[in-house]
C-alpha cells in the first residue's frame, strides 16, 4: 500500500461530471505533480484527497504513521491563496492548529526556516504575497505532516518569488522526509519539482499520461534534460487536445 491512494470513480457537481475514474497514488518520499489546464478538476481532486470534499464515489486511503497520532492529521494542505487569519499574527497563524497554546519553539523554528525572522508579531495585512505564502507553508508544516498537498501554491506570486518559493518547499520537504502532491498548470514548475508528473486532460478526461522525471536533485533549471522532457510533455498535451 502506498502512502496515499486516491481512487475516484465519479465526482459531479450537480449534473456535470468533473472527475471520472481517476487512480493516483503517492509513494513514501515521492514528489508527485498533477499538471492540467484550468478547470479540469485538479483542485477538486486535491480537496477530495485532503478529505475536504466527501461528496464523491470512490475512496481515499491515507497510511497513518506508526505512532498513529490521531490529534495531528498526517496530511497538510497549502491552498492557492495564503488563507491566513487576518486577525492573527504570523506566529499565531503558523501555530493555528493548536490555537492559543501553540508550541512557541516550533513556531519560531519554522519562522526562521521560511525566512521570516523578525516577523513573528506582524499582521497579515503588512505581508507581501510571497511572505504570506511562506507563512501558509510554515502553517502546513507545523502539524508535522507526512503528506503535503499543494494547490497551485505559487500561481499568485511573481516569477522570481515563485522560483525562490519552489526551492524553499523542496528544501523543507526534503529535510523532513515529507512526500507531496502538487497541483499546477505550469509545465516548468511540474518538471522542476516532480519525480512523477500526471497530466490531466480537459473536461472529465481523467489522467491522460504520466511520466517520470529522471533528473537528479538538486536540479538545474537550465538542464538540457528538462528541456527534452518539456517537449515530451508538450507532445503529450497536444495529443490529449489540451493545447
Amino acid at each position: 500500500m502506498s502512502l496515499l491512494d486516491i481512487d475516484v470513480r465519479e465526482k459531479a457537481f450537480g449534473k456535470t461530471i468533473v472527475l471520472h475514474d481517476i487512480k493516483l497514488s503517492l509513494e513514501n518520499g515521492q514528489a508527485a505533480v498533477l499538471l492540467g489546464p484550468s478547470g479540469c478538476g485538479k483542485s477538486t481532486l486535491l480537496r477530495i484527497a485532503a478529505g475536504l470534499d466527501k461528496q464523491f464515489s470512490g475512496s481515499v486511503s491515507v497510511k497513518t504513521g506508526h505512532d498513529g497520532n490521531a490529534k495531528s492529521p498526517p496530511v497538510a494542505f497549502v491552498f492557492q491563496e495564503p488563507r491566513l487569519m487576518p486577525w492573527l499574527t504570523v506566529a499565531q497563524n503558523i501555530g493555528f492548529a493548536d490555537g492559543g497554546k501553540f508550541d512557541t519553539a516550533r513556531v519560531n523554528g519554522l519562522i526562521a526556516d521560511v525566512g521570516l525572522t523578525g516577523h513573528a508579531a506582524t499582521l497579515p495585512k503588512a505581508l507581501s504575497g510571497g511572505m504570506a505564502q511562506r507563512v501558509a507553508i510554515a502553517r502546513a508544516l507545523y502539524t508535522e505532516p507526512r503528506i503535503l498537498l499543494l494547490d497551485e501554491p505559487f500561481s499568485a506570486v511573481d516569477a522570481f518569488t515563485r522560483m525562490k518559493l519552489q526551492d524553499l518547499v523542496l528544501k523543507l520537504v526534503e529535510q523532513r522526509g515529507i512526500s507531496f502532491l502538487l497541483v499546477t498548470h505550469d509545465i516548468d514548475e511540474a518538471l522542476y519539482l516532480g519525480d512523477r508528473i500526471y497530466m490531466m486532460g480537459a473536461g472529465d478526461g481523467g489522467i491522460q499520461h504520466d511520466l517520470s522525471v529522471d533528473v537528479a536533485r538538486p536540479r538545474d533549471r537550465r538542464a538540457a534534460r528538462l528541456a527534452e522532457l518539456k517537449s515530451d510533455v508538450l507532445t503529450a498535451l497536444q495529443a490529449a487536445h489540451v493545447i
Partner: protein, 290 residues
C-alpha cells in the same frame, strides 16, 4: 507595510521626546493642542454666531429661537441643578437597555447564524417583528410593565436588539468559506471553529451593528421619556414644551447630540482597538490627514 512604517515613526517620536524630557512636557502639550483637528467645529460655531446675530438684529424673536447667550445662561442655571440628574438618568437607561438588548442579540444571532434550521424557524418571525416600529410597542409595554423603569428599558433593549442581531447574523453568514476550510483541514470541531474563526471574522459586522444599535437606544430613550418620566433628557424636552421654553428644549437637544457623539466615539475607539488587523480603506486613510 503601513503598519511597520507607523510603528517606526512612533518609536522615533518617543526617542526625541525622551531626549528633550526637561522642556518636552510643555511643548508636547502645546503641540497636542495645535494638532487638534478643529475643522469639525466650524459649522456649529458658525451657526451659533449667525443665530446670535439674527436675534440681536431683531430678525428672529427670542421667544421662537433664544440666542446662544441666553442658552448659555439657562445652561449655567441648569448645570447647578437638574441637568446632571437628567443626563445621568437617560445615560443609565441607555446603558442597561443597550447591554440587555445587544447581549441577547449576540446569543440569538450566533444561534440563528450557525444553525440553519433555527433560521428556518425564527427568521420569518423576526422579519415581521422588525417591520413594526418600536413606538408601536409602547402602549403594550406600559400595560405590561407600568410606566416605571422596566417598560423604558425593555423598549430600549428591543431597539438595540435588531441591528445587532442582523449584523451578527449576516456577519457569520458572510465569513469567507476559505478560512473556515483551513479550520476543517485541522479537523477542528464546530465550537472551536466558531471561537477561532467565525467570531473574529464577523467582528467587523458586529461592531457596525453595535454602533447602530447604540444610536437607536438613544433614540428610544428619548421617546420613552417623552411619554412618561420624571427625569431624563426626554423629560427635559417635554418640560420645555409645557413651559413654552425653547431654551430648555434646545439645551436638551444639544445634550443629546453631545452624548450621542461621545458614546459613539467611545465605541469607535474600542472598535479600532479590536479591529486593528483590518486591512480596509478606512484603516488605510485613518492615520493620514485628509
Amino acid at each position: 507595510m503601513t503598519l511597520s512604517t507607523h510603528e517606526f515613526r512612533g518609536e522615533a517620536q518617543d526617542k526625541t521626546t525622551a531626549l528633550r524630557r526637561p522642556v518636552g512636557t510643555v511643548s508636547g502639550f502645546a503641540a497636542r493642542i495645535a494638532s487638534l483637528d478643529l475643522r469639525g467645529a466650524i459649522v456649529p460655531v458658525g451657526a451659533l454666531a449667525l443665530l446670535e446675530l439674527f436675534v440681536r438684529m431683531g430678525w428672529v424673536s427670542p421667544y421662537v429661537l433664544p440666542p446662544p447667550s441666553d442658552l448659555y445662561t439657562t445652561f449655567l442655571y441648569l448645570a447647578e441643578g437638574p441637568l446632571w440628574t437628567n443626563i445621568g438618568a437617560s445615560a443609565l437607561r441607555v446603558l442597561i437597555g443597550f447591554a440587555f438588548g445587544s447581549l441577547l442579540a449576540i446569543v440569538v444571532g450566533s444561534i440563528v447564524g450557525l444553525w440553519y434550521s433555527a433560521e428556518r424557524y425564527l427568521e420569518p418571525s423576526f422579519q415581521a417583528l422588525r417591520a413594526v416600529p418600536s413606538l408601536a410597542w409602547v402602549p403594550l409595554l406600559m400595560i405590561w410593565f407600568g410606566i416605571g423603569e422596566t417598560s423604558k428599558i425593555v423598549l430600549i433593549a428591543k431597539s438595540a436588539f435588531f441591528p445587532v442581531y442582523l449584523s451578527l447574523f449576516s456577519g457569520i453568514r458572510n465569513v469567507d468559506r476559505k478560512l473556515v476550510e483551513v479550520g476543517e483541514m485541522y479537523r477542528q470541531p464546530l465550537p472551536v471553529l466558531v471561537w477561532r474563526i467565525l467570531i473574529p471574522a464577523s467582528l467587523p459586522h458586529l461592531f457596525t451593528g453595535l454602533r447602530y444599535g447604540l444610536s437607536l437606544a438613544w433614540l428610544s430613550v428619548v421617546a420613552a421619556e417623552l411619554l412618561a418620566a420624571s427625569e431624563g433628557i426626554g423629560y427635559m424636552l417635554s418640560d420645555g414644551r409645557e413651559l413654552s421654553r425653547p431654551d430648555l428644549v434646545l439645551i436638551a437637544i444639544i445634550c443629546l447630540a453631545i452624548l450621542g457623539k461621545i458614546s459613539d466615539s467611545l465605541f469607535k475607539l474600542i472598535e479600532d482597538r479590536c479591529l486593528s488587523w483590518r486591512d480596509s480603506y478606512s484603516t488605510a486613510i485613518g492615520g493620514r490627514p485628509a
